[in-house]
Assembly symmetry: C2
DNA sequence: TTTTATTAATTGATCGTTCAATAAAGATAA
DNA sequence: TTATCTTTATTGAACGATCAATTAATAAAA
């Protein structure tokens, strides 16, 4: 069986299996066995590649975060207007839903856990700050600084709130699309309200 | 030790101890032992009064929900204006924080778990629907029906989003007060925007 | 004494981790 | 080419810890 250079392949397979298991059964019921079974491998391999369950959990969160980051980068170029960029930010935060339905539940599980896990809380903070910072950069090109900061704070809350309510009510894809559109309308109304 | 009529006392003590344990260590690490230790009792008493751990968890959520419900009822009377009532709704959803600091973390833990637990999901749905329904009733007195429904949906999302971000960033009481004030301002702006 | 309230010890299941064993692939040398 | 050695990849059983739940025993009130 053993081919050379399996490490990156196996690591990704185990991360995918972790997302799957947490989405299906929750973080609480996700065990080394449930993950390795989803991945079609033995339980021992998790410690071999990630040092333990905790290492795999954290690697999974980092993978989700970098996915979110790359998604926005791929959408923006030098010709993007500030308003367009704001719409892309909204889209990115709702996008992971469409490509992988099970990802959304996984996010919320990790967030809840982040209150009691130092490294997860650090990662969550990076993500939260980045959303607000991304929003502020674009709003600043459309309105004075004080208003831009406020608009970014409110937009971040609106995105997270709409997203949270959609996840918790176990919505289908149409509901997520509806929430995304509400968030975009809200950004437009903020620009109209404060825009110079 | 055994006095008669201890049941309601013990039940409440165990619910309080559950909130404390979940806030401190998370739902994942909360065990029959950690709860009974917090309550200063033995572990067997949980099965005696709640049938098991699951029963205690669900009773705790029901307690938090009814607390939230009663808080709003106590604030409103027949002389309350629609706008005042909207402010009270916002206050209620941020109020639990002040009286008991550890309650907020507990909420989020239960919400995350509700995705994988039928009864918890049912309870979460009741709460979510009630917030939106409470908001709609008051908005309807201030604007046309279609706008009132939209305003209620947006306000619910804004409240939850501001609350979630405050909880996750492990904010102090001042930050919660700041979020509460942002939510109130948002309600006022919706009334100004759509108000007849 | 009988009933109610509670404890403390125990049970069996399950958890994450560790580790010796193994299988296959490449490397080396004959 | 063939045989041997080394490395990499992987397994699954065993271990100790910990969990929720149960049970028998105990203490106090009625």
């Amino acid at each position: 069986m053993p081919k050379v250079g399996m490490e990156p392949v196996r690591r990704q397979q185990l991360i995918d299996a972790t997302i799957e298991s947490v989405a299906q059964k929750g973080l609480q019921a996700t065990t080394i066995n449930s993950i390795s079974k989803n991945a079609g491998m033995s339980s021992g391999i998790i410690s071999h590649y990630f040092g333990g369950k905790q290492g795999l959990i954290e690697a999974t969160v980092r993978y989700l975060l970098s996915n979110l980051k790359d998604d926005l980068i791929s959408k923006v170029d030098e010709k993007t207007t500030p308003t367009q960029r704001l719409m892309f930010i909204v889209e990115s935060n709702f996008a992971l839903v469409q490509q992988r339905k099970d990802t959304t539940r996984t996010w919320l599980s990790f967030w809840a856990q982040s209150m009691h896990d130092k490294e997860l809380h650090r990662l969550q903070n990076v993500n939260s700050k980045r959303l607000q910072s991304n929003l502020t950069v674009s709003f600043k090109q459309l309105m004075p600084l004080a208003q831009a900061n406020l608009a970014a704070e409110l937009t971040a809350a609106m995105i997270d709130g709409l997203w949270l309510r959609a996840v918790l009510s176990q919505s289908d894809e149409n509901q997520f699309k509806h929430s995304e559109s509400l968030a975009k309308n809200y950004v437009h109304s903020l620009i109209k309200q404060y825009g110079a």
